[in-house]
Symmetry: C2
Subunit: 498 residues, 2 copies
């Protein structure tokens, strides 16, 4: 344990002085610098969880160097790309070097998608370059591009309500805004148009689909993201438009002019690609067959370098597990880190998406009854502010212990369960594995999410460390015990009236 | 005058509640709502200047609607483009409709530059798209693009000091950071590499030049801007790199790898283009030959829509002059608004740059001795915080009056003169016209300057109105009097020891 505390004194001072760190966390961290008498009485799981938390806050260096190397050495890591494959090999080698057990790569087939070149130009009433990004799985335009007048709908519902055939030869645009929220509810409310827009546009005769980016920023950066296949195909080329560009088209229309746009994309598919999950364990000392699963994804969108989506998630989970790995004794249960592949892109056939998660659940079906708990980190670099426990343990000794350990980090207990634990673990959770959520503050996440702006400079080291602290502490509490997280209720929490 | 106060009560409330508006300005504005007895005693110039200020703060609508229409109807307005020509015609028509005198367009020849298509890709040690923007006047690459290993220099001085021929076949990169400052000094310190970099790179054998964007943001947006011609040409293709991309190349180099980059540009020149200045007067009642010159530029860079550079400058000057135009009587001197063309791009032959400014000074050479004062608005949309008067009037009744009128807007008096009054008025000021500067807060300006992000959504209406207030008030004080701004000292202030 002491090795944690010896390193990087200067860094520790910085974190300690950070005004964002809750006051009590700083005090606890200072206490943690005091010598601990390991030999005297066996420390409780809660004591060790607190020490893990404080070691992470003191500036454990694994997380930032992981995300820095990952994004610098491999850049963008779209599912099925060479960069993604090489990143997985690097991750496996690095996890072995960090001392993890059972490190291996599990490969699975996917249909990959490549952006190629793309461009957009307003051609009437004036000439202006437009900032777009093809939605994931969008088909290419004809080689000469395509042109059409743009018909703007405020919402997807308005597009759905358009008269049949009324968009023939035109480009349908949905201009819905994304509301900035702490919990990501604004994103959830807006993202439906990204999945269903191309189908609805085509069903009304449109030759292409434009979407105001699902994002909360006001930069000339378009937010990509997967759309969905209908009957094995995306029917028309589909693009996200940067927010200022969407507003420009709206203003032009408000002046009584019809915006006319030229679109070009050379996107392509590869039905014979593959992706992979990287698996690494800390083998449990007493019940190694019981698994606490920590998930994040290694693939990324192609325009940025996937720093906050989800380089930081992989860094947080690896760093949290590494803190546990370096303890003088192992937890009773196995802690498993899975770095998933192909989280971002949809697939043309059932189960359609989140393919790394499905592949894992399929390949480890026999093990799933022994997966005692699963959690995922996939919401960037900002601090954890809320914990949702499985309903079976939402009250009782475990919750009390977790509360004492996590409250100094500025973590609230959610008053009701959230249904969404993350795309990677969703297949396992649907198969009955209890899910746990440490919700990150998403207020600024959707400024950057799925844009070229997702790069290392956006990573806040102090908040990254707070995430590592929360996951390390919570994971230890779950792994170094024998609590059955599914014994007292359903795995997926039901809404309450509270 | 009263017409100012009747309009848009809701807007006035918003401004009055804006915490950024200085407390005293709000109080003064409320007083201004009281009926004024025009017939009683003739108001002093200072009284009228205060009323103009308060009318602008109350939400005079010309400025925002000007910049909104300009950027929506004409989008990007690169010098010599159809968009720039059409914007000038629109501006002249609008100025006539607003009641200005002597509205006309003065055309002049330029060499124009078009960006065409461009792209950049990191091709070793990994594949990654890079965000670049050709610097203005950069020549194209060969049609197949060009490729080279990147040699990174921390500063232009380090590039200059490289051994002769040491960059043969390579791409030279200067990675200098731009320091964030309120007065723009960080920009001035960094921008030299944009002008001299291509020449220095070529002189050392490099095949292209890359520059970390001269900007203070951390987005995947490259800051273009003009480089300069040497002996009539820019010797190698030259590009700005977005800050995160520059840092990625630096990190790759720090890992011991050599970044290799492919660059493509189809930029082109047109030696037979033209641009134009738009001129509009409020003819003086007593000494119409004496001119107070208000300057801004209509042209813009090509990736954004030139909202803050310099759509807002044109809006501020037009709106300030329009407030004066709508007074019940005219000022003694003529107030002239000139909306310059071709401010942004360099020219291959002497005098090399700021061609609208030179064209004006040439065409109006005989009038320049009667230009009593010249000021320019070309630093975006943020509030004015500092006034620099000509040394001749830096103390005395005029300065005292200006101080009383502008202090409630949160404007300081500069303790020493600034040499830079703006590129458009520089030729006139070099010919002896006294310059006045209302410095805007540039803390955030260079986040957006010369990027695709320069769009209408970045315009802050309350701060825009504060600029209009300051220019309207100051212009009235200068125009409705007979003070000789050059009588007591040199036109260009000398540094003091203060």
């Amino acid at each position: 344990m002491r090795a944690f505390f010896a390193q990087d004194g200067e860094r520790s001072v910085r974190v300690a002085n950070d005004s964002r760190a809750p006051r009590r966390a700083r005090a606890v961290w200072l206490l943690a610098l005091m010598p601990l008498a390991w030999g005297a009485a066996p420390p409780t799981p809660e004591t060790i969880a607190g020490q893990l938390r404080d070691a992470a806050l003191a500036g454990h260096d694994v997380a930032y160097s992981w995300v820095s190397e990952l994004t610098t050495r491999f850049g963008p890591r779209p599912a099925g790309s060479d960069n993604e494959h090489r990143a997985a090999e690097w991750a496996a080698a690095r996890l072995k070097a960090l001392g993890f057990d059972n490190v291996h790569i599990e490969t699975f087939p996917i249909t990959a998608w490549s952006r190629g070149s793309e461009s957009a130009q307003l051609i009437a009433p004036i000439s202006q370059p437009l900032v777009i990004a093809a939605l994931g799985e969008s088909p290419p335009t004809p080689a000469a591009g395509l042109e059409g007048d743009v018909v703007i709908f405020p919402t997807l519902a308005a597009l759905k309500a358009a008269p049949a055939g009324s968009l023939s030869g035109k480009i349908a645009m949905v201009a819905n805004r994304t509301v900035r929220t702490q919990d990501g509810a604004g994103y959830s409310a807006a993202v439906g148009a990204r999945g269903d827009g191309p189908h609805e546009a085509a069903a009304h005769g449109a030759i292409a689909f434009l979407l105001r980016s699902v994002g909360t920023d006001s930069h000339r950066l378009a937010h990509t993201g997967t759309t969905r296949y209908t009957d094995g195909r995306v029917p028309v080329p589909a693009f996200a438009l940067a927010a200022p560009d969407a507003e420009q088209l709206e203003r032009i229309a408000a002046l009584g002019e019809t915006p006319r746009v030229r679109l070009f994309s050379s996107a392509s598919y590869d039905a014979n690609a593959h992706s992979q999950n990287v698996i690494a364990d800390i083998k449990g000392a007493k019940r190694p067959q019981e698994i606490v699963l920590l998930a994040a994804h290694l693939d990324s969108w192609d325009q940025g370098t996937g720093a906050i989506d989800d380089g930081t998630g992989t860094a947080i989970m690896v760093a949290a597990a590494k803190l546990i790995r370096d303890l003088p004794h192992r937890p009773q249960r196995t802690v498993r880190v899975v770095l998933f592949g192909s989280e971002e892109i949809a697939q043309p056939n059932a189960p359609f998406g989140d393919f790394g998660g499905h592949s894992y659940a399929d390949k480890h079906l026999a093990e799933l009854p022994n997966h005692v708990l699963a959690g995922e980190s996939d919401l960037g670099t900002e601090r954890v502010y809320s914990l949702t426990l499985p309903p079976a343990v939402a009250k009782g000794d475990f919750a009390d212990s977790a509360r004492r350990v996590l409250t100094p980090l500025g973590v609230l207990f959610a008053r009701r369960g959230e249904g969404d634990f993350g795309a990677d673990v969703e297949p396992a959770i649907k198969a009955g594995v209890p899910g746990v959520a440490l919700a990150q503050d998403a207020t600024r996440y959707f400024d950057i999410h799925h844009t070229s702006d997702d790069t290392l400079d956006k990573v806040d080291r102090a908040q990254l460390d707070q995430n590592v602290a929360a996951w390390a502490a919570l994971t230890w509490l779950a792994a170094d015990g024998d609590l059955d997280f599914r014994s007292h209720g359903a795995a997926i929490p039901e809404p309450s009236d509270e």
